[in-house]
Amino acid sequence: MGMITKKNILILLSIVATFAVVQVLRTMNILTNFHEITLALICINIILAVSLNLITGFTGQFSLGHAGFMSIGAYTCALILLKYPTMWGFLAGIIAGGIASALVGIIIGLPTLRLKGDYLAIATLGMAEIIRVIFLNIEITGGAAGLASIPRIANWFWMFFFAVISVVFINNFIKSSPGRACISIREDEIAAESMGINSTKYKVMSFAIGAFFAGIGGGLYASYFFFLKPNLFGFLKSIDMLVIVVLGGLGSLTGSVVAAVLLTLLTTFLQQFTAVRMILYALLLVVIMIFRPKGIMGTSEITDLLGRIGRGKGRVE
């Protein structure tokens, strides 16, 4: 074991290759600005989905408040960017957004994470609504009018960079001892406690890490799409993210990435079907859930699948 394995080199190469291919197509203008926006949305959705997957898929804490964390990151980053419209302002804004969001995650998580299942879901939903109402009514965030003319400093490179960082960090985390502690809470909280795992600590930790990356996703959103308003971060936004996570497979980061790509493309594709777009979207949700209730990937990862092909035998299920 070690950092430099065949697998890791392969992963690194494919990441670099993906970036290079897009970059080349971009310079040749085969991928237009419009495609770049779609790619940016994909990256943001990947960040939000993997961070929510950490909370809901891996730690088993059902959260319907992810949009709340996203909004905190978005507003923090936007306010910093409006004051310092530079590259440093952007990076500081992204990190500050993540940290602010993580702090709120800890403050909210400590009392609410003792709740279970749907009760936690409804409490987190309430929490996100409270955050939204606060943004709607305070001066500094511009109230309902929101914040406009946020300088666009984020570009495709930064989107890709942060998406990769999020996936890698969260993947590393779940393959580490604290990450396994989180997973054990999903599996059986009482058994986990009996094995010496402080379930409150790890639930809050997972919540905070998830919130941190959601904040980063929000910050990227703010610095790419010029404009923020509180109603962007309503309950439907949290649902959108949950849909990506469940569709991809709870507990599969690969699934979240794949579903984020597919659903973003689908949403963009449906823009032209004005009147029926939401009907088609809703139908697809129902159909996919009925025929693939465990999501596209279940709990497996791309590396498992590659391994399976390599070994020439299936994983025992």
Binding site: M1, G2, M3, F169, N172, F173, K175, S176, S177, P178, G179, R180, A181, I183, S184, E187, D188, I190, A191, A192, E193, S194, M195, G196, I197, N198, S199, M205, T299, V316, E317
Partner: protein, 266 residues
């Protein structure tokens, strides 16, 4: 000084008193049995010791570095940290995780890297993970589970799941191991093997063991002392021979033949 001393332990749920005035003393190195008919409150005692329930009354104290530490209001993970591990009557493995992960999770408190290494896999991540796997495999070897370390826990046969529960508990490096019906559902051959295994663990890891068991053959064979619980009260205590002939115990088991160890209740 006793390793574990329980005094006047009482727990009531609403109007029902599940455990009442229980005194138990366990010395270091002992192997103690806790028996009693169904619903006598045995598992409740385990839950009280491990912090799943808080006692209504009474004290539970554990010897730690020569001092007695109260376990009464400690959360389960703290109790585990102090050196008590347990298995569950109705197996509570992490079903969808691999055998190896089940064991590694229990080693969590002894992992020597922090959050930065966890997120980046820099620093001591790889050396520590290597150590964890080696230690886990050593423990799995005891129950011949090393071969199956990559299988999901739920895919193991029943008996092996019970073994894995014990391995997992051992991985927390306990001084006191609480086993809740480890032989439940096993055939006599498996039970015999398990008996040998428990003895070996106790010897190799310098363990103190408290055991709940319905299988009298196992209890009578390996326990040095036995506590008998009925309706939440300790009705008898002593060496197996004494218990076997105690009329109150026989009465509690009402008609059940406790005098003949070989065909005890399974």
């Amino acid at each position: 000084m006793a390793l574990l001393s329980i005094e006047k332990l009482t727990k009531s749920f609403g109007g029902l008193t599940a455990v009442s005035n229980v005194d138990i003393l366990i010395d270091k190195g002992e192997l103690i049995g806790l028996i009693g008919p169904n619903g006598a409150g045995k598992t409740t005692v385990f839950n009280l010791i491990t912090g799943v329930y808080a006692p209504s009354y009474g004290t539970i104290e554990l010897e730690v570095d020569g001092k007695l530490v109260s376990l009464a209001k400690k959360k389960p993970y703290r109790v585990t940290k102090l050196g008590i591990a347990r298995t569950f009557q109705n197996i509570r493995l992490f079903k969808d995780l691999s055998v190896l992960d089940n064991v590694r999770i229990a080693m969590h408190q002894r992992v020597g890297y922090g959050m930065p290494a966890a997120l980046t896999h820099f620093g001591r991540y790889f050396s520590e993970e290597k150590r964890l796997v080696a230690e886990a495999e050593a423990l799995l070897d005891v129950f011949k589970l090393t071969e199956k370390k990559d299988e999901l826990a739920k895919n193991l046969p029943y008996g092996e799941q019970r073994h894995l529960e014990i391995v997992r508990a051992m991985a927390t490096k306990p001084r006191l191991l609480l086993l809740d019906e480890p032989a439940a559902g096993m055939n006599p051959n498996e039970t015999a093997a398990l008996t040998a295994m428990i003895a070996k663990l106790r010897h190799d890891y310098d363990l103190t063991i408290l055991l709940i068991e319905h299988d009298m053959s196992l209890v009578m064979k390996i326990c040095e002392r036995i506590y008998v619980l009925d309706y939440g009260v300790v009705i008898s205590e002593g060496a197996p021979d004494k218990i076997r002939s105690d009329s109150r115990v026989i009465e509690a088991y009402l008609g059940e033949d406790v005098s003949a160890p070989q065909d005890g209740e399974a």
